[in-house]
Each structure stands twice: as C-alpha cells, then as structure tokens.
C-alpha cells in the first residue's frame, strides 16, 4: 500500500501541488494528469527522492506503513519507468536484467532473468544488445528490469507516450497485468486518458499556480 498524505509541492513563486492525499493499494494505479508544468513529473521525482534543487515539498509518503519521504532514493525501493526505455546500451538484455536483480548465484539469477524474458515473449533475447531490439521489445525489457529489482511501488512517467498506437495498447496491457499480478502499487503520470487502466484513481493537477 502506497499512501500519500497532504503532499504539497512548490516552485519559487508558485505552488504546484497543494494538499494531495491518496491511497494506492497493491496492484492498483493512481493516475496523475495535468498540463505541462503542472508538477506531475516533479511529484514523481519527489516520491522517488530526486526532486530538483529549487523545488520544495512537504507531506508524508508511506509505503507498506513505513514513512519513506526522508529516506535516500536507494533505500526507498520505489522503481521508476520513463518515456525512454533507458536500457543501458553497453550491457546485453541479460546484463540489464542482472543489474536489477539482487545479488546471488549467477546461474540462478540468469534463470530468473530468462524466465522473465520468456514470460514477456522474449525468450532467447538475453544475449542481444539493446540497439538490436525493436521499440516494443526494448519497452518490455525496461519494465522487466524495473520489476526484477523487486520494487514495493512503481512510478510511471509517461512510459507509453513514445510508442505508436497498436504497440501502446499492447504495452499498457503488459505493464498493468504485471503490476496486478505482482501486487505493486503504481503512480502513473500521463497526458492521455486512454493510458489510464479501468478502475484506477485519477487526480488532475491544475498547474500554473493552481491547486490540486
């Protein structure tokens, strides 16, 4: 369970988000919409622990009952997916997935990575370098990588916006299905209402000095 309590975000001279509260259960999605500059990505950055200097934030974030807003990013266990897949270009698909997996015996970790790939229809793609994959394949690998790190919540920063329409629909289904199966709460930032899965909570940020 991810709980946001009375979150306020401010840039110099204006408030981006005021008094935002929400509870996102296991496998549920909180969709955050709003115009450019309304503070959507800043909200995710704060939840992740990487708020840009110059912005101020207050409020409480609880993840499975534990307050995390003051923890460093590496201790929050909050995963993030961006518009770009951000696969590490110097590592193979296996390398990217192993990077995310916790330490352990290499063979066992490879089995986990390969199982994840097989579950995503990418069996045998492990040795390939990211630039040899299609956009959709890269997108799926980036989701697998984020999930193999065993996050307790996932932040989605417009991860569907760069994909073409048919691919986008398949990729949305792929992501939300996995979130549901793994019981991971997610916060989705998007411009497109079609990206929001059925049953998701939705918050619109007013932007330009307005309040949430």
């Amino acid at each position: 369970m991810l709980e946001l309590v009375d979150i306020t975000l401010a840039a110099p001279g204006r408030t981006l988000v005021r008094g935002l509260s929400a509870r996102v259960g296991a496998g549920e999605v909180l969709a955050v919409m709003g115009e450019s500059g309304s503070g959507k990505s800043s909200l995710l950055a704060w939840l992740c622990g990487t708020l840009a200097p110059g912005l101020a934030a207050s409020g409480t974030v609880r993840l499975d009952g534990r307050e995390i807003q003051d923890l460093p990013t590496v201790q929050r266990r909050v995963g993030i997916l961006f518009q770009d897949d951000l696969l590490f270009p110097h590592l193979s698909v296996h390398g990217n997935l192993l990077f995310a997996l916790p330490a352990g015996e290499r063979a066992a970790r490879l089995v986990r990575a390969e199982a994840a790939l097989a579950g995503a229809g990418l069996a045998g793609y492990g040795p390939r370098l990211p630039h040899t994959l299609s956009g959709g394949q890269r997108a799926r690998v980036s989701v697998l990588r984020a999930l193999l790190a065993e996050p307790r919540a996932l932040l989605l920063d417009e991860p569907f916006s760069r994909l073409d329409l048919p691919l986008r629909e398949r990729f949305r289904a792929f992501v939300f299905e996995r979130l549901r199966t793994m019981g991971i709460p997610a916060v989705l930032v998007t411009h497109d209402a079609h990206d929001i899965p059925p049953g998701a909570q939705r918050i619109d940020l007013a932007g330009e000095g307005g309040d949430a």
Partner: protein
Amino acid sequence: MAWLVPAVLFALPLLAALGWALAGAIDPVAWQHLAHDPALRPSLALSLWVGFAATAVSLGLTLWLVTRVHGQPAWARLERSLGALLAVPHAAFAVGLALLLMPSGLLARLIAPLANWAAPPDVATVHDPLGLALIGGLVLKEVPFLIWNVVAQIRPVAQAERLRMQLQAAQAMGYSVASAWWRIVWPQLLPRLALPLLAVWAYGLTVVDMALVLGPTRPPTLAVLAWQWLLDAGEAANRQGAAAALLLAGVMAAGALLAALGWRAARGPLLRRCVRGDRPARAVRLAATPVLAAGALLYAGAIGLLLFVSVASVWTFPALWPQQTTLDAWVLVAGSLRSVGVTLVLGLAASATGVVLAVAWLETTPAAWDRRAAPLVFAPMLVPGVLLVVGLYRLALALDLDGSLSGLWLAHSLFTTPYAWVALAPAYRGFDPRYAQTAQALGRNSAAFLWRVKWPMLLAPIASAAAIAFAVGVTQYLSTQFVGAGRHATVTTEALTLAAGGPRGVMAAFALVQALLPALAFGVARALGRAQARRFGAGHEAGAVA
C-alpha cells in the same frame, strides 16, 4: 567537391611531413648508434615510467573526481573553471610549478619556519631522478583536459538528461550514485575517452617543454634526449635523434595497442562485475573538495608566483616576500617586443587558419566522414612532436620556407587545426538542420543562411575553438625552434631557453606573458559566449538539436 579544399590544405603538408619524418628516421647507422648509446635504456625506461604514471594517475583522479563531484554544487564551479585551467600553457605552468616546488621555492619557504630551515633543503624536488615533479605537473595539466572531455560527452542536453535518468533509474534499483557511475556510466564513457587518453599517454611519453623545466636531467627522458640530438650541430646526432623520436612513436603505438588489448580482455569480466547485483553499502568516502581546492591553489600559486619572481630583485631564503623588487625583467620583456609580436601574429594567423579549415570541413562534409578523417586529424596530437618536427623541417626546406615566418605559420597551423576541429565539431554537427530548411523556405540562399543565421548562432563555439587554437599556437615550442631555425623568438621559446639557467625573473616574466596571451583569448571567447547567451536566452545551446 568543396570538401577537397580543407582536406588537401591540411592533409597534404601533414602527410608530406609525416613521410619525411619517417624517411629521416629510417637510417640503419643511426639506429645502431642509438642502440649502443648508454643513455638509451635508462632514458627510455624513464619515459615509459613518466608516461604510464602520468596517464594512470590522471585517469584515476578524473574518474574519482567526476564520480564524486558530478551532481554536487562544486560540479558547476569545476565546469566553469576548466576553460581557465586549460588556457594555462604547459610551459608557463611548468615554470611556475618549478618555482613553487624547487628547494628554494615558495613551498619550502612556507615549511621553513616549522622545519627550522635556514637554507634551502638539499632535496631534489625538481629535476628529481624519478621524474615525480614532471609526473605531478603532467597530472595537474591532464586532469582538467580529461574532465573537459568527460563534460563534452555528458553536457549536451539530450545526453545530460539521459545520464540523469540513468542515474535515477539505477538509484531506484537500490544502487548508490557512485555505484551507478562505476557500473553504468563509466563503462559507456570510457570507450569514448580512448582518444583523449591516447593523447595524454602520447604527451606524457614524448613531452619536451615540461620535461626541460621539471624533468630529470641525468639521464633526461628519451624525448628530451632526442630533442638534444636533433639540435646538435652534427648530422649523425640529428639522425640518431630522429631515430629516437621514431622509437618513441613506436613505443607509444605499442602502449596504445596493449591498452586496447587489455581493455578488450578486461571488458567482459568488468561488465560481469557490474551486473552481479550487489548493492555495496556506502563506504567511507574521501572528500573531493580539498583535492579540488589543492589543485586550484597549485594553479593559482604557480601562476601567481611567476608575477612575484618576475619583480623580485633580492629574495633570500626563507623570506616569504621579496626584500627588494625591480622591473628590470619587464623592461627586458618590453625591449624584446618583437618576440611578443611574433607570438601574437603567429598565434592569430595559425588559429584563424585552423578555424577556417575546420569550418570548411564541417560545412562541406557529412558527419559520417568525421570518423574516417579522425586518424589524420588526430595525427598532430598523437605523433610525438620531436618526430613530426623533423618532417616539418624537411617540408619547410622543400618549400623554401625554413627559417621564415611563413614556414612557422604553416607548421603551427598543422597543430592548431585539429584542436579547432575537435572543439568546434560537437556544436557544428549538432546544429539543428531545420534552421537551414526554414531559411530555404524563406527564400534565402546558402550564403545568406551561413552569414546571417548559422555562424552568428555558432559564434560562441567558433570563438571558443579559435581561443583554443590560439593557445595551441602560442605554446608551440619544438616547431618554432626547429622550423624557424632559431631565427624567430616567441615568448615560449624565450621562457624555455631561460629555464635552462637564465635569470629567473626574466624567465618568469616571459612565462607569465605566455600564460596571459591564451587567457586573454579565452576571456574574449567567454565574453562573446555570454553576450550570445544574453541575446538568445538562457539554456540556448547554439542551435543544437533538442
């Protein structure tokens, strides 16, 4: 076919010089003399040690500093200061550092009250047999150069954003920032730093000017020995010098090949380590700020000391300040205004040539050609200067330009052009092509587009490239001495000649002038860049593709 003009103007004389350099160095008798010279082995060993140590320490410090400081407030200050640090010529810095480190230098004077020294300590802190002073000087000059290359890789908006998100993604997976740098960023960046690293290795192995001021003397490094043989009046010694220079080039190439093979062998295991999944707890970390502050102090001390020494008349040990001052050294510098004038004229002509050739190439060729041209463009940076000047001298002789200012202009331009190209290419190649389409759609021809749109928008990078090329031109020593046949003195040749035992005050004054000229050029370039930023608004990156 317009691309042929810059290509031919640069490549023909360079290839001719390289050919003549090789021809001059391939003489079996000279190689026999070289092989039997008792100084060869210790000098070569010393050169290898200096080159390897300077490269390894510079790389290690660069990796550590960038990992530690990137993303911190100190990073912006470091980025801003790089231009100033790079603008300090090697020779002037070496002279200042020598004055700082020598037994009667400022550091010893600062320690003297604590150590009860009434006389300078009897320790070889400069010209030490292990070459530590030379290695230190090289490291202090090369670390800013390597960091500048890292910045060039990660500064463009798209790359900076990608880096930020990659670091964020790795942190979200539980890795510390430092871990993310070592496992994600450096494996991507290091291959792109291969050429700058090669340049650092080549320079450390073959440097002459800094080695004359800071390096060991008995024996000196092989590059200095080769230089002495080349300047010898006897032709046999000249040929032996050319052979030694070629040997250095071979050693440099062999070292580069070994490094490439080593990287290829180590890459797999290193990448496997990167993905083993452990998230090491934050270890005790050395603070980078004191290291940066110490580096800045050494630079400020070395250059500031040039001013003090240039006006010191009586300055007994261990006094911290000169007891008596004089302007005699500056009167002498003013009396040899011709050397300042020659330096300025040559620097301006060679930098203008370099920028024009670079712009002509970049304007008339597709970006894909840069890779093919790179080996030739980088040749003047990588081929040992002591070898290349042999060919340049023969080229000047063939063109009847030896000992003339035109010959020096040609020789200096071959060194300034690659730097202008390297400095300008990222901005020029990154210029948004839609501006050209827009200008065409508005009915403007190519000339109008270049003069009224593209070059004004690229004014800051062009000015910056010109400043870098000017600094390279001003600091030319080997080519000035050799191609100029000793007939044309510049502030660089004056400072280095005096470093061999001339009056310290005059040496310091010439070294300071040598340092001030590039600083002036960088100041002008920076002012132009700021003016452009004000005109185009903050965040503008010279028309770069977003």
